[in-house]
């Protein structure tokens, strides 16, 4: 139940025949540990191109992607027997602004479209759709409503339910909270976390927000200029001098902890201290 990338590169060809190298020589394995994984990097660093290899939306220009034992490369995709459907079922990809892709008359029809496409009978697909909608916090009062009359946050939930209804083992989310207000962002990320904890689904989410990384990710991948430059824990990444080169920011929590440590002239670092921990500390040390 895993995805493995072996020396994967992808280049796009422009209309004038020139090439653009989007990702270069990526080696990566995920899905074994059932983790919440953050994928970060500047605009144009190759994040979206990378994740589109995880479910065979893109075929590597060179190298091989292996999804659940199925090899995807320039050779294998030419075979008549090569089928993408099983890959799509294992690996669900939610695009940025998925709410623009809703199209059915009712919420329930929209969400059951995916499982039906996988070959499920109508009533089974409806059942899966209902379960998925409950998972994302939308009850039966939503089932017969038009997706177009929902709020932005609700539309996002509907489109995510559409992917969850296919019961993927790995869920890829491309900037899932973009466009939402802070409360909506937190609600959605908390939802992903609870789904992850219940179903043990591996989740990979693209984000620019290091505060989200700090709160939700156990593992982080960093893309920089088409290369995967870091794959490890966020805690180690925060200590790395390369952070600036990669144009990454530190989470606010960490900046605040560092600021308090400096203000109190403490030697030790305060990594992972909550605001309440800081209050206790300032009570003890707080004479300025």
């Amino acid at each position: 139940m895993a995805i493995r990338l072996d020396a994967v590169s992808h280049r796009y060809t422009s209309m004038d025949g020139s090439f653009f190298q989007a990702i270069t020589d990526i080696h990566l394995e995920l899905g074994q540990q059932k983790e919440m994984i953050a994928l970060v990097g500047e605009t144009g660093s190759g994040k979206s191109t990378l994740v589109q290899h995880f479910n065979a939306l893109l075929t590597p220009s060179s190298g091989t992607v292996e999804v659940m034992g199925i090899k995807i490369n320039q050779e294998t995709v030419k075979a008549k027997s090569f089928k993408k459907t099983p890959i799509r079922q294992h690996v669900g990809l939610v695009f940025q602004f998925p709410e623009y892709q809703l199209f059915e008359e009712t919420v329930l029809k929209d969400v059951s479209f995916g499982p039906k496409n996988l070959g499920l009978k109508e009533n089974e697909a409806i059942l899966k759709a209902k379960e998925a909608l409950f998972q994302v916090g939308l009850n039966e009062t939503y089932f017969e409503r038009s997706p177009f009359q929902l709020s932005g946050g609700e539309k996002k939930r509907v489109s995510i339910a559409g992917i969850l209804a296919m019961e993927p083992d790995i869920l890829i989310l491309d900037e899932p909270t973009s466009g939402l207000d802070p409360a909506g962002q937190k609600a959605l990320m908390d939802l992903f976390l609870s789904i992850h904890q219940k179903t043990k689904t591996t989740m990979v989410f693209i984000t620019h927000d290091m505060n989200v990384v700090y709160r939700y990710a156990k593992r982080i991948l960093v893309m920089h200029q088409s290369k995967l430059v870091y794959d490890g824990t966020p805690q180690e990444l925060y200590q790395m001098p390369e952070l600036r080169t990669w144009n990454l920011d530190l989470p606010d929590s960490l900046k605040l902890q560092t600021f308090i440590a400096q203000t109190l002239q403490l030697k030790e670092s305060l990594l992972e201290s909550s605001v309440d921990d800081l209050i206790t500390l300032i009570k003890e040390e707080g004479r300025l």
């Binding site: 605009t43 009359q149 932005g152 802070p182 203000t263 009570k283 707080g286």
Partner: protein, 267 residues
């Protein structure tokens, strides 16, 4: 006389009331940040001020002049606006063409046009990109081109409608820096955002909720007020959460407050 004044403005979309009996004034040279949850009417407000939407009732004045179908073109020249998605606002093949586009529409004389392009490209630190295609720039660079294009029209107020929300951290900081530079030059700024770290920089914060002004005040008054923030589905930023809890615990001091406030402005 306020520079922009809205008096009892209401606007309804076919399915939803967006702005209800809203009154608001913005002084010349002031930086006002409008914050609020999705659907609170923030973006509708911006579209009403630039005359892209017409209120069903109420009046809008810009420098004392009432916004009407007759005055809208003249009034709009006083206002520059930057939208959320940097990719949706380019028309030119090169950065230079793009900045020139608005000026051609205004029929600015050719020599004057060249001068303005150079001036505002330099101000936004985009001079070396003048002959590049906008599509090849980073998100932050694209927003700086859009700002240069808007500034070249020499508006008296700049509106930023969620202009940093789709940018990576570097692009966000570049755009915030551009806002600070404009403030330093006394340009009137209206920034619409749900990034409270952006709102912190403003002179005054207006909280919108369900099309009405829920609260207005200094960043200090609004952004530490947990009741207001909760009602508007916004979250306290961490240094201010710490500040609030220090006050509750009776361990705050003016010195701590000043330090935490300074720190918050760097985020």
């Amino acid at each position: 006389m306020p520079f922009i004044e809205l008096k009892n403005v209401s606007f309804k979309y076919p399915s939803k009331q967006a702005i209800e009996q809203l009154s608001l004034s913005i002084e010349k040279g002031e930086w006002v940040a409008v914050v609020g949850p999705n659907g609170s009417g923030k973006s509708t407000l911006a579209k009403l001020i630039i005359g892209l939407l017409t209120p069903q009732s109420g009046e809008i004045f810009v420098e004392g002049e009432k916004l009407t179908p007759e005055s809208v073109n003249e009034v709009r020249q006083k206002i520059g606006i930057i939208f959320q998605n940097p990719d949706n606002q380019f028309v030119g093949v090169t950065v230079r063409d793009d900045i020139a586009f608005g000026l051609e529409n205004l029929q600015v004389p050719y020599q004057e046009m060249l001068t303005r392009i150079d001036t505002y490209a330099a101000q936004m630190k985009m001079t070396e990109f003048l002959d590049k295609e906008p599509s090849n720039l980073s998100g932050g660079q694209k927003q700086r081109v859009a700002i240069a294009g808007a500034l070249a029209m020499q508006p008296e107020v700049m509106i930023f409608d969620e202009a940093t929300s789709m940018l990576d951290p570097k692009g966000r900081l570049e755009t915030l820096q551009a806002m600070r530079e404009l403030r330093a030059q006394k340009t009137t700024l209206l920034t619409i955002t749900h990034d409270l770290k952006e709102a912190l920089q403003a002179d005054r914060v207006v909280v919108l909720n369900e099309g009405q002004v829920l609260a207005t005040g200094t960043p200090r008054e609004i952004l530490t007020n947990i009741d207001i923030l909760t009602e508007a589905k916004l979250a306290l930023i961490e240094p201010l959460e710490l500040l609030n809890k220090m006050e509750e615990a009776g361990i705050s001091s003016q010195e701590w407050e000043a330090k935490l406030w300074q720190f918050a402005l760097t985020l």
